[in-house]
């Protein structure tokens, strides 16, 4: 099990997408690829933007499919962080309908 303390990298307001991407590329994805469970510990993170959480986890879900969530735990989330995580996790699994004008093959299928 690999535990990542988000506050140590992103501070109490997690909004820097570059930091989120670095965490994902350098730690989350390698750990999951090695078969480890990843605990993203949000203790002392008061608020996170959707953009941050997206850069942190969305690509993992889209690349590996929803079952990868069996290997990721979001720990010690404040209510606002928890809600943002829920939003991103849901839309990252979604087959979303494109707006008029975009052909169906440009729809990200989430997996």
């Amino acid at each position: 099990m690999k535990t990542l303390r988000v506050v140590e990298r992103a501070g109490s307001f997690a909004e820097n997408k570059d930091v989120a991407r670095e965490i994902r590329l350098n730690e989350i994805e390698p750990a999951l690829a090695a078969g480890d469970e990843v605990v993203l510990d949000f203790k002392e993170v008061e608020l996170a933007t959707q953009s941050f959480i997206h850069a942190l986890i969305s690509a993992v879900i889209r690349a590996s499919g929803p079952d990868i969530l069996d290997h990721v735990v979001f720990a010690n989330c404040s209510p606002t962080v928890r809600r943002v995580v829920e939003i991103v996790v849901e839309y990252s699994q979604d087959d979303v309908a494109p707006p008029a004008g975009l052909p169906p093959d440009e729809v990200s299928t989430g997996g």
Binding site: D94, V96, G101
Partner: protein, 320 residues
């Protein structure tokens, strides 16, 4: 460019200010109402952004004589400093407790991180801190990532304690929303571009609906939704088009639309050209509607409007 700053220009009547812009090239000439000036932070951010562009282009920046009553306000909001003009008089720093964030120029991610840390104490409104942190982060990151603005973003904010309203303005003189989105999406007009930019899943960095690993194309939707959930104004002005989300009646529901063409809003497509993007937002700081509840409303909107089939396949995040 010529900019006339009227005595009052808030989001409710922002069109009157915008319609008087004269986007001539070269020098910037700013004139102000002769008696009194009190405007939304979006207006100040636009003036500052236009001033930075003019100075960078080697043009002159002129600001007309300012009515004495308005001087303390304009100086303290940082207008003269942002324009590189000497303040006509010194301002005694009474009421330094402020409840405002003066004009700031943000060019890098590091600037933004530092600004967010420093701005919150200036407002003296802890109940508004989550909303403004969120909104400023999303709006400024849009500028830094998409606008190609050589001067970055200009930001300004004010908290009105009596009405418990937080007003934020962000402006740039970059390439504008239409140019940014056109890299990957067919866009017919400035107004269409604004609508697309607010559609979750559309980003200028990817042709794929749903975005890519770095951009979801949801930042403006979230920001608009924060205004909508508290029944307040949200304005996007880019190129010759302006979208203004209206407050709506107190009795109206707070439905959030992913498709902004369905929003209760006014739209203009024949305004003077603003080379770049300017955004203004008002947020009601209501003890009965916390930031958490705003997120709840957004969550509901996503689930109702954006999700499609395959509900049985969905997994929920695991929390501990």
């Amino acid at each position: 460019m010529r900019i006339y700053v009227p005595n009052s220009a808030f989001l409710g009547n922002i069109e009157a200010f915008v319609q008087r812009l004269e986007p001539t090239s070269g020098d910037l000439e700013v004139t102000l109402n002769e008696r009194w000036v009190a405007v939304h932070p979006m207006v100040l951010a636009m003036v500052a952004a236009a001033g930075a562009k003019a100075r960078r282009d080697g043009a002159t920046v002129q600001i007309a004589e300012t009515p004495a009553r308005s001087l303390p306000y304009l100086i303290r909001m940082g207008l003269y400093g942002a324009l590189g003009a000497p303040a006509p008089t010194d301002v005694v720093a009474h009421e330094a407790a402020g409840r405002f964030i003066p004009l700031s120029q943000i060019r890098t991610n590091e600037d933004l991180a530092e600004f967010i840390i420093e701005m919150i104490p200036l407002l003296h409104a802890p109940e508004a801190s989550d909303s403004i942190k969120y909104v400023v982060s999303e709006l400024v990151r849009n500028v830094l990532e998409h606008s190609r603005s050589r001067d970055g973003a200009f930001v300004c904010a004010q908290y009105f304690a009596t009405s418990r309203r937080l007003s934020v303005g962000v402006a740039d003189t970059g390439r504008g929303i239409r140019s940014s989105l056109s890299e990957h999406h067919p866009v017919g007009s400035d107004l269409e571009a604004i609508h697309l930019a607010m559609q979750p899943g559309i980003t200028g960095t990817s042709p794929n609906f749903g975005g890519n690993e770095y951009n979801a194309g949801a930042g403006l939707f979230f920001t608009k939704s924060i205004a909508r959930a508290s029944r307040n104004f949200f304005v996007v002005y880019s190129g010759g088009a302006l979208f203004k989300l209206l407050k709506g009646a107190e009795t109206a529901d707070r439905v959030l639309h992913a498709d902004s063409t369905r929003d209760y809003a006014t739209r203009h497509s024949d305004l003077p050209e603003w080379q770049g993007t300017a955004i203004g937002i008002d947020i009601a700081i209501d003890a009965s509607a916390t930031f958490q509840q705003l997120l709840d409303d957004i969550y509901t909107a996503y689930r109702l409007e954006i999700r499609s089939a395959k509900k049985d396949r969905f997994k929920r995040a695991r929390f501990a």
